[in-house]
Symmetry: C2
Subunit: 224 residues, 2 copies
C-alpha cells in the first residue's frame, strides 16, 4: 500500500501538501460520493474505473470528477482510468479520514440491529465501539460484536473510548433526551435517524438522514 503518486515531480502543485487549506463544501461532498462508489467497486474486484463510469454511478459530470481529482494530483492514467484501490487511499487522505473512528450507536431495535450487523460503517473506517438502549430486555444481548449497554453508562463510555460521533436509531420521543446527554458527554457529531428536530449547541453538528426526502427529489426528475 503505497502513499506515493506519480513520479514525485512538482510537489508544490498538490494541495495535499497544504494541510491548512480547507476544502469547499461542494468538493468535500463530491469526494465523499466518489469514495462511496469506489468502495463498492473495490468490493466486486474492479481494479480501474474511468471518470465516465464514476459519473454514471454518482450522477456527477465526468469533467467535474476529473477536475476535482486533478486538483490534488495526477491520480489517473490516460487511456486507462483511475486505479480503484489507490484512489480510495488518496481521497481518504484528502478528507483526512484515513484512520479508524470510534462511533456509538443508540437504539438496538430493528434499525439499530440493521446498522450494527451490516458493514456500511465498517467499510469506511468507522468502528461501532458501543451500543446503547434503555429497554431492559435488550440490554445485555449481543449485537454484532458488541454487548448492548444501558444508556446510563453513556457518559463514561464516551469519555473512555473518545467517541466523537453518535448514531441515533431511536424513536422520535427519545431523541432529544439522548441528544442532550450526548452533548453533555462531549459528542460533536450526531447522526439522527429519528424524525425529531434536535436542538443542540452551535459546536455540535446534527446530520439528519431522510430517505423519503431523497425519494421526493428523485421523483421530481422522473415526473418532469
Amino acid at each position: 500500500m503505497s502513499y506515493t503518486v506519480g513520479r514525485g515531480s512538482q510537489p508544490e502543485e498538490s494541495s495535499l501538501d497544504k494541510p491548512g487549506e480547507k476544502l469547499a463544501l461542494g468538493v468535500a461532498a463530491r469526494l465523499s460520493r466518489y469514495l462511496q462508489v469506489l468502495t463498492q467497486a473495490r468490493k466486486i474486484g474492479k481494479e480501474t474505473i474511468s471518470s465516465q463510469e464514476l459519473a454514471e454511478y454518482t450522477h456527477v459530470n465526468s469533467t467535474q470528477i476529473r477536475r476535482d481529482l486533478s486538483g490534488f494530483g495526477k491520480f489517473g492514467k490516460r487511456g486507462v482510468g483511475y486505479n480503484v484501490e489507490s484512489l480510495v487511499t488518496q481521497i481518504r487522505k484528502i478528507l483526512r479520514t484515513s484512520g479508524q473512528h470510534n462511533i456509538a450507536l443508540f437504539g438496538a431495535g430493528h434499525l439499530g440491529t440493521a446498522i450494527a450487523t451490516s458493514d456500511i460503517f465498517g467499510d469506511h473506517g468507522f468502528r461501532i465501539v458501543a451500543i446503547f438502549d434503555v429497554v431492559d430486555d435488550r440490554v445485555g444481548t449481543k449485537l454484532g460484536d458488541q454487548v448492548v449497554r444501558h444508556s446510563s453508562e453513556l457518559h463514561d463510555v464516551v469519555e473512555e473510548e473518545e467517541i466523537v460521533v453518535a448514531v441515533l436509531a431511536v424513536p422520535a420521543s427519545a431523541a432529544q433526551g439522548i441528544a442532550d446527554s450526548l452533548v453533555d458527554a462531549g459528542v460533536k457529531i450526531i447522526f439522527n435517524y429519528s424524525d425529531a428536530l434536535l436542538n443542540v449547541p452551535p459546536d455540535v453538528t446534527v446530520h439528519a438522514s431522510s430517505p423519503a426526502v431523497d425519494l421526493l427529489y428523485a421523483l421530481y426528475f422522473y415526473l418532469t
Copy 2:
C-alpha cells in the same frame, strides 16, 4: 386544505404557473431539504418558522432560502416568518409531489422491518403497497399493514399497483437480481440500501444511500 396563496395578484410572477419549466438540480435538492425540516416542525406543532431557523436545521444559508422561496411566490410574512403548514403545501406543489405515491419494499429483514414500521415514507406521501422477500419463513407474515409476499409475485403487483419506485433493503448479493426484475417490470426509480453497485438502463435512476459516507463528510468539517 387550500391551494391558493397570497391575494391572487400578479399571477404572471409565479413560476408555479409555468408547468413546462424544470427546476435546477440544486433548487430541487434544497426544496426537498426544506420539506424534510418543515415536516418535522409540523409534527411538533410549530406553526411558523423563519428563514433563520430553517437555515440552522438545513445548513443552507438563510438568504439562499428566502431567494429560493421568493422565486415561486411571496410565501412569508415580514416580521413573522413562514407558515409551516402552507409552506409544506407550496413546496409539494412546486416539486409536483402533492399526491400519494405507491412504492414497493424489498427485504423483510431488520432494515425492511424498520422501514415498514416507521412513518418516514408515509409522512411524505409514499405508501408502501407491497413488501417482498424470498425467505419462506418471512413470506406470509405481517409487517406494518402489509403481508409479506414472495418475490415471484413482483411482476404482477408492480403492474397492478402502478409502482414507479422500489426500495431495496436486501443483501448485496441479491440486489442486482432484484434490480433486473424490477427494471423488467417497469420500475423507474430504485432506492438502493445495499452496498452493491447496480447496473440499470439509462432511463432508470438508482439512488444509493450511504450513511457512512455522509458521516465522513461531516467528520471532515469537524477535523478541519
